[in-house]
């Protein structure tokens, strides 16, 4: 006789679901409306990028890094380029470094806009999503002017960038940066300090600092738990050590330190800081080379490196083993969302199903990065 537990119901929040930020399957076990367990199943977007890396040459792999985290394409390109440049030991010209910082920070703003928009649409508010996309279209225009593409840029290459900034870029960017802080104020008035929004998010899914370090959580999620750690400040790359910007951390303004509202608010604060950084960089631009001299056939010396960069979602790391030939021997991609999602089973005990959506939205994961 089979012992069937009648109280618990197992529901599969399947791969196609409007609020799971991609093809993620969650097997949740519910006792009425309250969850007792939530298990993520991933792999629905596993495209074998690491195997492809062993079969194409180093420059040919750059477009594939775009598709890793397509909302922060420039940052992924940057981390890969930095990894190969570490092996090659070449010096990047100053103008290329400043252009890289401008692109990386603009992409941080546009990635956080989508995070903000899709999170609010998960919570039931559809207008902020349209506002976020409206702002993002301006940034898309800037990028399209520079490299021709709106989403997967393939702009930051090994040795520098692929093309110089076009005429009119600086003026258009300054126009956008003057217009944007007013919009951030609008978002705060519309959504961030809205009583219903706060009630839905405060004190939900608190990540303690010890748990965050244990599970490998990085990025705004780690900073929301109170740990002041940002790779741009601690291990500065490019010209971040010359720039003036703050690192916001969660202070538990509306509830506990490290709850979902803190994680959401981190992204709003970071957008402010990124605006500051881009303004400083636009003033620092001086004529120069936009790329270093890189040989046509790239053959880095044999060796192993691990290089990491601060992506909008966390720390993206590339572990590269080279055997001296034109193709990598092993390229391991350490994706931030992989570790961020692994804490979900722990956070999801004892919450309601609606809170589960809030938790996934506040962690801001993106599936292609997890599945590679």
């Amino acid at each position: 006789m089979v012992n069937v537990d009648e109280r618990f119901m197992e529901v599969s929040m399947g791969p196609q679901h409007p609020s799971t930020h991609g093809v993620l399957r969650l097997l949740v076990r519910t006792d009425g409306e309250v969850l007792t367990a939530a298990r993520p199943y991933i792999g629905y977007l596993h495209r074998a990028l690491e195997k492809i890396a062993e079969r194409v040459t180093y420059p040919q792999f750059t477009p594939f890094t775009d598709r890793l985290d397509y909302l922060a394409s420039m940052n992924c390109n940057l981390a890969y380029a930095m990894t190969v440049e570490k092996l090659l030991n070449i010096e990047i010209p100053r103008r290329a470094q400043i252009i890289r910082v401008i692109m990386a920070e603009l992409n941080r703003i546009s990635s956080h806009l989508i995070a903000f928009g899709s999170f609010s649409s998960d919570m039931g508010a559809f207008t902020p999503f349209l506002f976020g996309i409206r702002e993002r279209e301006f940034i898309n225009d800037l990028f399209e002017m520079t490299c021709g593409s709106r989403l997967t840029y393939n702009y930051i290459r090994i040795g520098g960038v692929s093309k110089d900034l076009p005429e009119g870029f600086i003026d258009k960017a300054k126009e956008f940066l003057d217009y944007f802080p007013g919009k951030l104020k609008e978002y705060n008035e519309l959504l961030s300090y809205n009583a219903i929004f706060i009630k839905r998010l405060a004190n939900i899914a608190v990540i303690t600092p010890e748990d965050a370090l244990d599970y490998g959580v990085t990025g705004p999620n780690l900073r929301a738990s109170g740990i002041k750690w940002d790779l741009r400040r601690e291990e500065p790359y490019l010209i971040y050590n010359e720039l003036d910007f703050d690192i916001p951390i969660g202070r538990g303004e509306m509830g506990t330190v490290g709850d979902a509202w803190d994680r959401y608010m981190m992204r709003i604060y970071e957008m402010e800081q990124s605006t500051k950084i881009v303004k400083q960089c636009l003033d620092m631009l001086a004529p120069g080379d936009y790329t270093a001299k890189v040989p046509k056939v790239l053959k880095p010396p044999a060796g192993e490196v691990y290089v990491r960069a601060e992506n909008p979602r966390g720390e993206l790391g590339f572990y590269l083993i080279s055997d001296g030939s034109t193709k990598p021997y092993r390229l391991k991609i350490r994706a931030p969302s992989f570790a961020n999602l692994s804490i979900l089973p722990k956070l999801a005990k004892g919450v309601m199903i609606a809170d589960l959506i809030a938790i996934i939205g506040s962690l801001d994961i993106i599936l292609p990065e997890i599945d590679r």
Partner: protein, 161 residues
Amino acid sequence: MGILEDRLPDNILFTTVDKFLNWSKKNSLWYMLFATACCGIELMQTGASRYDLDRFGSVFRATPRQSDLMIVAGTITHKMADRVKRLYDQMPSPKYVIAMGSCANTGGPFYKDSYSVLKGVDKIIPVDVYVPGCPPKPEALIEGIIKLQQKIMQEKNLVKK
């Protein structure tokens, strides 16, 4: 005497039943949000403020049972392919499929070396319109939808089979 007496000018409209049914079908294509990867963001941006899909009568639905168009946007892997077929079967007819982006057309940049990518979604479901691009610009997707509308206008609904 009716309600329309003084409203319409003195005209009589002739049309065929086919044209009328097709016209109503093509102007209210409700699409299902099926976005797996990068093309999904372009799909979302096409439906949002600047390139508005709402003016074509298309709104997004979360479930296949309420939609008549499935825009497959993104890479389909072998693990996901069963689920795509299942979702397609759940849609009520008449149903249409647009394969958006290189990955859904033929496997995309992952065609040569990947062991886990399905080389084109037409291996498991029938596709009506292919939209190339990686990712296609919103204008390209809108052109794809217009081509689908033209295809719908040529359908014959009342032919005895």
